[in-house]
């Protein structure tokens, strides 16, 4: 067995906790953007994922993602119930970490990926239907995708690069979000009623927590503490910063005021964009990725009005557009000089090969996640209904679905 590196283990324990903390951060980020009558409903989507997906991951998710490869598509059942995890090590040489730490770290990704989807279902999905959807999605979509990209599956062997989850986390959740927005339909009054965010400081705090946790997400994806974690940490901060600046400049250049929600969204867009690239690019490419993705997402928000779907909190516009742009840009900026386990992209003399592979990774993820998500949602809609009734929607989901209200005025 490879030797356990205590420095790396300590870092990865912290990273796992930081990635967990992103989910309540996301709860705040999303909840601030809904109307006050749905603040708890939106919060509960993320909060409950911390409980639900943690359990699913331990029982079956981890083994489906990281069990022995079966045909490049799925992991075997060797680690059912996290059996065989304790006492073993993950990694090579002298930099291994306990597999228990690796399994928990990966579980936190599953939690937040499910929670990310909920921005699209906000203000109208039945909570019970969400719980069943989240359960099925974590098993049938997330776990196989994690296997494809990180668990020894076909995309990993194919050579598509995804350092920290641009495809598995962001594109997958955005494709599911699109499926959910289409399956649910628009919120009552969408386009005619005011649906203003009810608490932007809450969203800003959430974005700040996301930024903080993202260091665990990206730098932790080095699976150890050392040069690679350092470079991913640096790339992460620079891309978030550039994303914020780019989004704000895009607002100003299109004739708007520099908005607070825009600055926060730009930072998140930059973080999404650097996720697949974080461990493969140097600092200046990271700035470029953040800036390009920030602008792409700013205009990406218009997709929903262009195509007429109600992606309430812009999961497609930020995570879909940002994840896709970041994945393609990984094929442009990746460099073997930064990470010898990666590949050379277009600007490092690698030609178009990597970009082509990145397209395949993106396309496969979108097709798989969208299709399976849509089927799950349609089946749930036929059997139990996925949408609350009009009265519940009008009065707010907090009271009708949870018998609580967020505020007493």
């Amino acid at each position: 067995m490879p030797a356990i590196d205590t420095g790396s283990t300590a870092w990865m324990l912290v990273c796992a906790a930081m990635v967990l903390f992103m989910t309540p951060g996301l709860a705040l980020f999303y909840a601030g953007m809904v109307r006050s009558k749905n603040v708890l409903s939106s919060t509960m989507h993320s909060l409950f994922a911390m409980g639900l997906v943690s359990v699913i991951w331990a029982v079956i998710g981890y083994t489906l993602a990281f069990g022995k490869d079966v045909g490049g598509l799925i992991g075997g059942l060797q680690f059912l119930g996290l059996g065989g995890v304790l006492g073993s090590a993950t990694g090579t040489g002298t930099s291994a970490i306990p597999t228990s730490v690796f399994a928990m770290y990966q579980g936190m990704f599953a939690v937040i990926t499910v929670a990310l989807i909920t921005g699209a279902v906000a203000e109208r999905m039945k909570f019970k239907a969400y719980v069943i959807f989240a359960t099925l999605w974590a098993v049938l979509v997330y776990s196989p995708l994690a296997h494809w990209v990180w668990g020894g599956g076909w995309l990993m062997k194919f050579g598509a690069l995804d350092f920290a989850g641009g495809t598995v986390v962001h594109i997958a959740s955005a494709a599911a979000a699109l499926a959910a927005a289409l399956a649910l339909g628009k919120r009552t009054g969408y386009g005619t009623e005011e649906m203003r965010p009810h608490n932007i400081p809450m969203s800003v705090l959430g974005a700040g927590i996301l930024w903080f946790g993202w260091f665990g997400f990206n730098a932790g994806s080095a699976l150890g503490s050392g040069h690679l974690a350092g470079s991913a940490f640096m790339a992460t901060n620079l891309s978030a910063a550039a994303g914020m600046l780019a989004w704000t400049l895009a607002e100003v250049f299109t004739g708007h005021k520099p908005t607070v929600l825009g600055a926060a969204s730009g930072a998140v867009a930059g973080l999404v964009g650097i996720t697949p690239a974080a461990g493969f690019v140097g600092p200046m490419p990271a700035l470029a990725i953040g800036a390009i993705v920030g602008i792409a997402c700013y205009f990406g928000l218009r997709l929903k009005s262009r195509f007429g779907f109600d992606d309430a909190l812009d999961v497609v516009g930020v995570h879909g557009v940002g994840g896709t742009t970041g994945a393609i840009l990984t094929g442009v900026f990746a460099s073997l000089a930064v990470n010898s386990a990666g590949a050379d992209g277009l600007l490092s003399g690698g030609g178009l090969a990597l970009i082509g592979k990145q397209f395949v990774g993106v396309g496969a993820t979108i097709a798989f996640s969208f299709t399976v998500s849509f089927i799950i949602l349609k089946l749930l809609d036929i059997t139990m209904g996925i949408r609350v009734d009009v009265d519940t929607e009008a009065g707010g989901l907090d009271l009708a679905e949870h018998a609580e209200t967020g505020y007493e005025f």
């Binding site: 953007m33 005011e194 203003r196 965010p197 708007h256 908005t259 929600l261 969204s265 928000l301 812009d314």
Partner: protein
């Protein structure tokens, strides 16, 4: 007796209250309202979505005074609440046909 209702800019409430206090007015009711007049609303932008907000936050005050004091109160509100910018609000005066102080049962101007 006259009932006076005024819709004013929220930040002018203290000045109006002080002005009425100086006239000897002993009580009033104030609450937060939303509305629009010639000022119309404003535009807010969230992630590129523009919302036209028709209803602007205002403060409404209500008080009942005797007939003699009413014109002075009206003028005091106008003087104190005016900023000379659009959206300063309006003052309405009504006849009031009754008033009772619940604790003592006093009626009419004695109840004010």
């Amino acid at each position: 007796m006259k009932k006076i209702e005024a819709v004013i800019k929220p930040h002018k409430l203290d000045e109006v209250k002080e002005a009425l206090h100086a006239l000897g007015v002993t009580g009033m009711t104030a609450y937060e309202v939303k509305g629009f007049g010639r000022q119309k609303g404003h535009t807010e932008v969230y992630r590129g979505n523009e919302y036209t907000i028709d209803f602007v936050p205002k403060t409404k005050i209500e008080l009942v005074v005797d007939d003699e004091l009413a014109p002075k109160v009206e003028q005091a509100i106008v003087d104190a609440a005016r900023t000379d910018k659009i959206g300063d609000g309006k003052v309405f005066t009504f006849d009031c046909i009754g008033a009772v102080r619940i604790r003592t049962g006093e009626r009419g101007t004695d109840a004010l």
